[in-house]
Symmetry: C2
Subunit: 378 residues, 2 copies
Amino acid sequence: MLRTMTFDRLPTPCALVDLDRLERNAAAMSERARRLGVRLRPHVKTHKCVEAARIQTAGEHGGITVSTLAEARAFADAGFADITWAVPVALDRLGECAELVRRTYRFRLLVDHPRAAAELEAFAAAHGLRFEVLLEVDCGHHRSGVDPGDPAAVRLAGAIHSSPDLDLAGILTHAGQSYRCGSRTEAAEVARHERDVMAAFAGRLRAASIAVTEVSVGSTPTVTAADDLSGVTEVRPGNYLFFDVFQAAIGSCRLDEVAFSVLATVIGVYPERRELVVNAGALALSKDPGPVHVDPDCGFGVAVDPTDQRPIPGLRVASISQEHGVLRSDPPLDRRWQPGSRLRILPNHSCLAAACFDRFHVVRASEVVDEWRPVRGW
Amino acid sequence: MLRTMTFDRLPTPCALVDLDRLERNAAAMSERARRLGVRLRPHVKTHKCVEAARIQTAGEHGGITVSTLAEARAFADAGFADITWAVPVALDRLGECAELVRRTYRFRLLVDHPRAAAELEAFAAAHGLRFEVLLEVDCGHHRSGVDPGDPAAVRLAGAIHSSPDLDLAGILTHAGQSYRCGSRTEAAEVARHERDVMAAFAGRLRAASIAVTEVSVGSTPTVTAADDLSGVTEVRPGNYLFFDVFQAAIGSCRLDEVAFSVLATVIGVYPERRELVVNAGALALSKDPGPVHVDPDCGFGVAVDPTDQRPIPGLRVASISQEHGVLRSDPPLDRRWQPGSRLRILPNHSCLAAACFDRFHVVRASEVVDEWRPVRGW
């Protein structure tokens, strides 16, 4: 814990986490999961901080979702004992997976290919352990997962279910196509489809005498918009804790709910072309292009007042290079902008922007109340 | 130094630096600078590793260019004593700049605004030191720098020159517009313009009795393509040590000169849609869109054979999310691709991809010969 200071003393660029907003986002998602009758297994990949995960899981069963083994290890070190690695298992990392199985109460892996299942089985048999496996299902994102309409998907579930060295924990999907939505109404439609596909597939497996305990769905846009999750057992949203410009653009949140921002200093003022340059570029904001399908001119984030976090009218992050962010003003540049002026930028994609930083300054209003260190690497 | 191993033992995703290629790139640039009659002050922002900078500066005067104060401090710790911070100075960081002035033989700052010059002057006077300043000039990139045709630019140079607390070291530009070129011929044209603008502006300042010692130009595309740098004293290319897919696309290098790659493992195989998924996504490759102005279908990097680094025909990195890279094949997917298969990806933009990693595995052919730790943060 730092002694009290206000964030205007922090050197820039730096990452600010608005704790009031984050706590509200966490509480709202817990309440939403309760109303929908599903368990919340938050994805920690957005923030990768133990402190944030503790807030997310307060009052929940404590299970989390991770995107890397580095996260799994760090969160296991901090006492999290029920972890799902929600990326198809990389077969070069089985030794580390086995270690996590031994160290935790529950460590679940994703599989969507018979070869991966066979390798897991062989490794488990050779090392005297069991792997708990979720079969990943493609519900329309077409990134990974089995095609639930393909008989091979049922065969693979059956092979895992009947393996002496594997436990089929259930099925899991991520409706990533929800990121192509333009509104909450569209996301609700994707959420219905996600649920329908998973409930139907679980039914088909059960009809084939394959036990399916967990039916896990994900994505902040769908969980935020879903009206009915009958047949689903758990949800795995992650981004909602920070939110970002993308989520606001597609209706998952309001801009004033975004809890992560980058504090930057003006290092160039060019009234003749109505531009400012700030010291936050691609290595502080990421090059995520943002919600261009909704707003082709969205740029690389939303510039907000450093104190009240209201968007600065007419100013947008027009382009970025490694350490420069170029902000363009529609009206002539306000004379208040001088080298040394400060602003905050709400990023397009908080998962990628947060990954640029080795520490987050946690603030309530202007006061720095904590410093969190995210996990990095794999 | 690690004991000898081959990189096929490394867990993925990980960053590989091809030392043979890197050494050739370094030697070629040193030779190029010598032939052009300019000093080489390499930019270290691409790799941020002391070991790489030692290779770049071997046989040179040892001066380097940095993009952050964190780099400046780490390289000063390692004995580099002549450092230019080639981003306009952020006025909230003057205390750290003063520290670097005291610790090094030469630490130069960029200024392009009278307010920044005045603040530097006041700080220097108050703290009993002098700041060595380069006036940044806009030679057509329109990101930062003074307009060399504006009389205010000469006035600002004069004010710095005549300040008792500042030294005008010279003028500096970065022809970043060279990244919009489609060929080496076009880059050569930008290089001529960059030189012409800087030589003319230096002449104008000298005519106004303002001494200009350093005339510094930059950018890998222009330095690689330049045929005459008369009037220029130093060049500051950085990317050339690694190169990348972007530089190859615009003619700065060949693909077989790219010295940085990401080793990845196949985690999904989808023959019906001719796609593979690997465990290298936006947090391993960055979301840099690459040379879309030359090749709209360039995707997010070039997949190459892990051993001989030849591009894999018909396979491209079609899309990426946080930890997934989706590769699409034009022909039906080769049956050799299975979960656990490996490949290397040459990134679109090595500066941003390298920044994703906390360590680089340095290889000669398949042998891991060293491990480098890049500087991170600001």
